[in-house]
């Protein structure tokens, strides 16, 4: 007789993964720096299309018709509307594959947080919540 055990294992493990995955979306991950390494900007202002923000730049990668991407763009635009020291750029991943490769973007939306020198200080994979965006912006010195 065939066993129900593989079915039970799949459903339990997949459920655990599903809960973890949804909870982890949007969390800001800080960029790790190897000791003594030279920090380079993630990209140039030319590649960005605009000068870096005087304190923070939020570089978002989106895909066509990705509704979490649209929601993220609207949320960040709303939060940063009155912030003169923050720049928000939303880029289409598929038409910027060189940047996608260089910055190791694996899914959309991914929002890279850059400091005033364009160096990555963190990133959020998946749609962040308002509080996550606000505290990420505030934490960049």
């Amino acid at each position: 007789m065939n066993s129900l055990i593989p079915l039970a294992i799949v459903l339990v493990l997949a459920s655990a993964f599903g809960f973890w995955f949804n909870a982890s979306r949007g969390r800001i991950k800080s960029a790790k720096q190897a000791k003594g390494s030279v920090v380079k900007p993630a990209l140039s202002p030319t590649e960005l299309g605009v000068p870096f923000g005087s304190r923070v730049t939020l570089l978002q990668f989106s895909s066509a018709f990705c509704s979490p991407c649209r929601a993220t763009r609207a949320l960040i635009a709303d939060i940063t509307a009155d912030m003169t020291d923050v720049v928000h750029v939303d880029m289409d991943a598929e038409s910027h594959l060189d940047l996608v490769n260089r910055l190791n973007i694996i899914s959309t939306p991914t929002t890279i947080i850059l400091n005033s020198a364009g160096v990555e200080v963190g990133r959020a994979i998946g749609a962040p919540k308002r509080t996550q965006v606000v505290s990420a912006i505030a934490s960049v010195v």
Partner: protein
């Protein structure tokens, strides 16, 4: 080729039906069910996710009962997800033809996990790896 937009809820309903079929297939190792799901994934992957029998059921019986705005998505990631499913079930089919119960169990388990995650958590494995896939194929085009 223009990329069309589809009702994003359709593939998720398809994933629910797929979950049921694969769950039974995983328990029974039924070659008929494996072959059935293989054909459905083939239609979804090589034609369109909107042209499968599951999509027909969705359009005829489920969609008319849904309220609210239709969420649209690009067809390419769900289509790629169907290809991923096709590959898993093709391996299960090979396992069935060679009477390798271990192969059937592992291949169906992985496929069931992906279908269940899509149906229950709206996690689309194919969509997640679609960008990785585009990066890989673009790189080999660029290098050529």
């Amino acid at each position: 080729m223009t990329n069309s937009l589809i009702d994003a809820r359709g593939p998720r309903f398809g994933a629910a039906l797929t979950t049921a079929v694969l769950a039974i297939a995983l328990v029974t190792h039924s070659a008929v069910l494996i072959a059935l799901q293989l054909v459905i994934f083939a239609i979804g992957a090589f034609s369109s996710p909107t042209k499968t029998p599951y999509a027909f059921v969705y359009k005829k019986f489920v969609k008319p009962r849904l309220a609210g705005e239709v969420p649209l998505e690009d067809v390419r990631p769900p289509k790629f997800a169907q290809l991923v499913g096709f590959l898993f079930v093709a391996i299960a089919m090979l396992g069935s033809l060679t009477s390798s119960t271990g192969v059937i169990t592992v291949a169906l388990s992985l496929c069931l996990a992906a279908a269940f995650l899509n149906a229950a958590f709206n996690f689309c494995l194919g969509c997640q790896i679609y960008l990785l896939f585009t990066r890989l194929t673009h790189r080999s085009n660029a290098a050529a």
